[in-house]
């Protein structure tokens, strides 16, 4: 009988992230430098670099999501809700995706409630929104709309696009993810699951945060909505 313990990758998940993050940081820095030196935005080199930047950010995003889920599963995630100024929070989130949007000629449209402050874990919600905007960039035709407003005692963040909207299958699977059902098909699985779990951590007065997917909205395409009590 085999008495050797089974290999356990989770042991190394947390410890190897330090090195991976350093590598990602250096790659990101280099690509940004190439982009800055690349000249006009229409060249093929510029487009390639922008694509590379996007891929690096995708790896970074996935890494954070995996690690966060691992920590949440073991009660190790240091959840801390702090007062965020909405305009500043939104602009910082947009700065993550701006180079990608520029290279693809996608317009970003902001509609932010003025003088609005809300309590939430800035890192988690930033992760959700950046992921949603990256996703929208792949499906939109020309514009992404980021709207933040207080609605019925909760903060609602909407990422909308003018693409052809979510297919019915995704709307259904999205609902499944929000209920915490484990499904593992395609890359949208991790992102939505992470978003649902992270939103749910935000609790106030018996109410918990949630996400939902819709079609329509201002631009007539897909809408990704986070609601934080």
């Amino acid at each position: 009988m085999n008495t050797q313990p089974k290999p356990d990758a989770t042991l190394f998940l947390a410890s190897s992230v330090h090195d991976m993050k350093n590598s990602i940081s250096v790659m990101l820095g280099s690509v940004q430098r190439f982009l800055a030196q690349a000249g006009p935005e229409q060249t093929e080199f510029h487009r390639d670099m922008a694509q590379m930047l996007y891929e690096i950010q995708l790896i970074n995003g996935n890494l954070i999501q995996l690690l966060t889920l691992y920590k949440l599963g073991n009660d190790l995630y240091p959840f801390n809700a702090e007062t965020q100024e909405i305009a500043e929070f939104a602009h910082t989130a947009v700065s993550h995706v701006q180079p990608l949007l520029n290279s693809r000629g996608i317009r970003i449209e902001l509609d932010l409630e003025e003088n609005c402050y809300w309590e939430f874990d800035g890192d988690l919600v930033n992760g959700i929104i950046v992921n949603a905007m990256n996703n929208a960039a792949n499906y939109t035709r020309s514009t992404i709309h980021l709207g933040v407003a207080t609605v019925a005692g909760a903060l609602e963040i909407r990422v909308e696009d003018d693409g052809s909207g979510f297919p019915q299958r995704m709307l259904d699977e999205g609902l499944a993810a929000m209920r915490g059902v484990d499904f593992s098909t395609g890359s949208t699985g991790l992102g939505l699951y992470f978003a649902a779990v992270s939103a749910r951590l935000h609790r106030n007065r018996q109410e918990e945060g949630s996400i939902r997917l819709e079609n329509g909205g201002r631009l007539g395409g897909g809408c990704f909505i986070v609601r934080l009590p």
Binding site: A14, V17, H18, M20, K21, N22, I24, S25, V26, L28, G29, Q32, R33, A36, N60, I64, L67, T68, K71, D75, L76, Y77, P78, F79, N80, E82, T83, E85, E88, H91, T92, S95, H96, Q98, N115, Y117, E119, D123, R203, N204, R205
Partner: protein, 540 residues
């Protein structure tokens, strides 16, 4: 401040980048250059010691420091030491750069809290927005911090209120600081009302913790434990709450629960030397010596690189090893401690534990010799030592035949705290253990009465209008009981009343302030402190 002014400020500041990985140093420097910073204003350091050297040579406006610096010091250690040695001023922005968000990095001790954490990768937009946010916050808090540093708590509370009106971004933090100050100055009623007000509109963990702390100050440990249990269930990574919960459990005599609570917190964050020490203390108390030894050893290792390391872990370890019948090893631990720490308090406590080790191992002759040394050291010392250590010293003196000195020590403890029931009980227990039960009971009662009489004598004279004599009496009473909180406050009240009647004088004002601050340190929950400070302020 306009955006252009902000950008100019960012471009014209001095920066230090601390990272063990050359590629990261290069990347962070590049991010700074892209923000408009002149390369001449960017210095780098590759480890903790180098960072400390660099910081002591030059003043930096911003420090970007990786949390994980390879072997030796972590970023938290560097920050702690830089603050402790005043290598950075209050206006310095310290940003900790981390690969990931962990309980260790985010929930560390207050002393080692940076102005912000940034998770890699750091981009220009994020850095600029974070620096602007930090600057705005510093601007909001600079006067408050100054008032707190000058112990002008009333002014600090007033400033919190004024600032909160227009500063929505920091309103919550201002409220939190204000509540903390209210609790610290004995106004727990107001603090409680504010916490309840906050909680009426939102479930806010810090307000729940604040309420629990007030219950603890009121010695309502039952309610505190209930609140805290709920708090950690809903906020599993709120380490501070675990620490208070363990304290509440101990106060209720529920040592098993306290152990379980500390264990949960240590599983989340095993690298806090303060928490490891709490575990060591508790395990030593409950006689779980193996675990105590493990916790104390870990404390010593963890605190190695910290400027705030304390000799207590060594003392605890020595006591534990001695209780495990290993006197030679225990003496070695003390020797290590004496090499690492200096100061009268350490020497006195070390001597006391040394005597205990000999006593426990049955070496009566050597124990007596050490006790005599301790006795003459105490004779010439004026260092204030905590009650628990004092009682240990007295126990050693009584057990080794140094009766007179042992009795005198315990008498002083009783007179300083004549109304503290837990202290009186602990003193009686020592008398019982050392075979002085009857004599001790008489002495405790006599000392308690003498203290109360001396405290009342001054008050009576003042009531009769003889302030000169009253103040004389109070001063000689304070000489005998320098840590008696009620006496400190009574004397302040009488001296202030005297000045209100016949004019202020600077020396007396200073004397009163000193006494009040001592009382506040000894008993933070005492309500009269702030009222008296208020009256003193009018006289200045």
């Amino acid at each position: 401040m306009s955006v252009t002014d902000d950008n100019k400020l960012i471009a014209n500041s001095n920066y230090l980048v601390v990272d063990d990985f050359p590629g990261m140093r290069g990347t962070l420097s590049m991010v700074l250059r892209n923000c408009g910073v002149n390369p001449k204003n960017i210095d780098t350091a590759s480890n903790g010691s180098e960072a400390i050297k660099t910081l002591s040579r030059k003043k930096y406006d911003v420090v970007l420091c990786d949390f994980n610096l390879g072997d030796g010091k972590t970023g938290a250690h560097v920050l702690e030491e830089a603050k402790y040695r005043s290598l950075i001023g209050p206006s310095c922005c310290w940003i900790m750069v981390t690969a990931e968000k962990t309980t260790d990095t985010v929930m560390g001790s207050a002393e080692s809290q940076p102005d912000a954490y940034l998770i890699k990768p750091v981009t220009e937009a994020i850095l600029i927005s974070r620096l602007q946010k930090i600057r705005a916050k510093k601007e909001s808090f600079i006067e408050i911090d100054r008032a707190i540093a000058g112990r002008d708590y009333l002014q600090a509370i007033q400033l919190c209120d004024e600032r909160a009106i227009n500063d929505k971004a920091n309103a919550i933090e201002l409220l939190r600081v204000k509540c903390d100050l209210l609790t610290r100055t004995g106004q727990s009623d107001k603090a409680r009302a504010t916490y309840e007000n906050v909680l009426a509109s939102r479930d806010v963990p810090w307000a729940q913790l604040g309420l629990a702390r007030i219950h603890m100050l009121d010695e309502d440990f039952e309610s505190a434990a209930g609140l805290l249990e709920q708090l950690v269930d809903n906020n599993r990574s709120y380490l501070e709450a675990y620490d208070y919960l363990a304290e509440a459990h101990q106060a209720l005599g529920q040592n098993d629960k306290a152990e379980a609570t500390l264990e949960r917190a240590l599983a989340l964050s095993p690298n806090s030397h303060v928490r490891q020490r709490a575990m060591g203390d508790l395990s030593l108390k409950t006689g779980k010596l193996d675990r105590a030894e493990k916790a104390f050893r870990k404390t010593v290792t963890l605190a190695e690189h910290s400027v705030r390391k304390s000799p207590e872990a060594y003392l605890g370890l020595a006591k534990t090893v001695s209780a495990k019948s290993n006197p030679q090893e225990a003496l070695n631990v003390l020797e290590q401690m004496n090499k690492k720490f200096s100061g009268e308090e350490v020497r006195l406590k070390g001597k006391s534990v040394e005597g205990l080790i000999y006593h426990q191992s049955g070496n009566a002759e050597k124990a007596k010799e050490v006790a005599q040394e301790l006795s003459s050291m105490l004779e010439s010392s004026s260092t204030r030592i905590d009650s628990a250590a004092k009682r240990e010293m007295a126990e050693l003196l009584l057990a080794t035949g140094e009766h007179e000195k042992g009795l005198a020590l315990l008498q002083a403890e009783v007179m300083n705290n004549p109304e503290d029931k837990a202290n009186l009980a602990a003193v009686r227990e020592i008398f019982r253990k050392t075979g002085f039960e009857d004599q001790g009971a008489v002495l405790v009662e006599a000392s308690r009465k003498e203290a109360m009489d001396m405290m009342n004598a001054g008050t009576l004279l003042a009531k009769e209008g003889d302030f000169a004599q009253a103040i004389d009496k109070l001063r000689s009473a304070l000489e005998k009981m320098p840590a008696n909180v009620r006496l400190l406050l009574n004397s302040a009240h009488i001296m202030i009343t005297y000045m209100e009647k016949s004019g202020a004088n600077a020396d007396l004002i200073n004397e009163v302030r000193r006494n009040l601050l001592t009382a506040n340190q000894l008993a933070p929950a005492e309500q009269r402190f702030l009222l008296l400070m208020n009256r003193l302020k009018v006289l200045e």
